[in-house]
Symmetry: C3
């Protein structure tokens, strides 16, 4: 393995703010250190890639309902614990701003500018009725085979 670039592949299953931050801190840290990074967004994690107020036509009622209930992008993400009806999440965001730490949306922008490969899981998109136009422009769509082919060649694999 000498001389080759190290690789990391992350499955982002969760859309909790804290877990998403952990994923993007790892991804941007790895990309800055010269590693090749790919992130696979599946199930709830997909909602982190949603644009705001973009809704496709031709959806069934249940698909529209998923659309209303899922957060739109990183700003809708809340803590997995101590959310306290939004208070805990707001407190944490305030602390991070005061300490000049990066917010989740900043980390996503940085990841994109560092060429982190962002892949949306096609099965999850179908299950939740999410179309590619509703997601960030720079993403790719892929299935489980795409993930397995890449992940089996990486040095670090995590399910977040």
């Amino acid at each position: 393995m000498n001389g080759m670039k190290k690789k990391i592949a992350l499955i982002v299953f969760s859309n909790d703010m804290d877990k998403a931050m952990a994923a993007f801190i790892l991804a941007t840290g790895a990309a800055s250190a010269g590693m090749e990074v790919s992130m696979y967004f599946t199930f709830w994690g997909l909602s982190l890639l949603r644009k705001k107020k973009i809704h496709c036509k031709g959806k069934t009622l249940i698909e529209r309902m998923f659309g209303w209930m899922l957060p739109e992008g990183p700003d809708g993400a809340v803590l997995s614990k101590m959310n306290l009806f939004g208070l805990g999440t707001a407190m944490m965001k305030r602390v991070m701003r005061k300490k000049k730490m990066l917010q989740l949306s900043d980390l996503i922008n940085i990841a994109q500018s560092l060429d982190v490969k962002i892949i949306a899981c096609s099965t999850s998109m179908e299950m939740m009725g999410i179309k590619q136009e509703e997601l960030l422009d720079t993403i790719n769509v892929g299935g489980v085979a795409t993930y397995l082919a890449e992940a089996s060649e990486t040095d670090i694999n995590l399910f977040i």
Copy 2:
């Protein structure tokens, strides 16, 4: 590593329907692609392997209580988010049926027919008072040493 079969080892800790589906989609996808797959079911994940209405005798009161409270197999699994007292889970299952997507119980059957190795964690079985007769017939029982020996030789390791 050329010429050798790729391997993947999954720890299934959760019994949430969504996480269990992610685990079995990865497992069946990998097995179909010719990879060697082993899945280690531990803690709550064990309940995914339970047969319905099989209860062993000679259990303590607390063990019987765990038995009542834990879901019996995949049909009792619910979403980790947006379950909404069962409504969200029912909606998701309906969407999947309409789109002719495989349900969790189908995926478990396919995994077994593709020779995915299914291992129940012996420590968790003891902790929850679950006996082997209560679990699917095709499983093996193993401890942390079994897992570590195999996982340290695989290409992909995930904790789900």
Copy 3:
């Protein structure tokens, strides 16, 4: 890889009793089997390393609030499911005592005596306003770069 020690790196993100036990059962099992083990405690996981009743001065109000709300060490950890306002966790601990199984605090002691490397995530410490004096004496502090450098050389990587 023949002849070299196998390595495992665990990210402990959660402070749930069940997930923390899974992490320490893997860590102590691996260390007993002669593997090199490192555990990175981040976000909620940090609270597992807190000493009881040690509070540093010079904290902001919000940092003191995090201090009050986060559990102090392993004894404050509760189950991720079926906690039932503490009843489920108490039941599980009672079962474990009766079966002479190790408790979480025992596992942490054993991990330390087996030279498991315990690293507290510096970013999470800053975010939650936790100082090193509040954490176990034997730990190291490290950032994402520390983790990535080590994890990319290990045989098993998990995010718990």
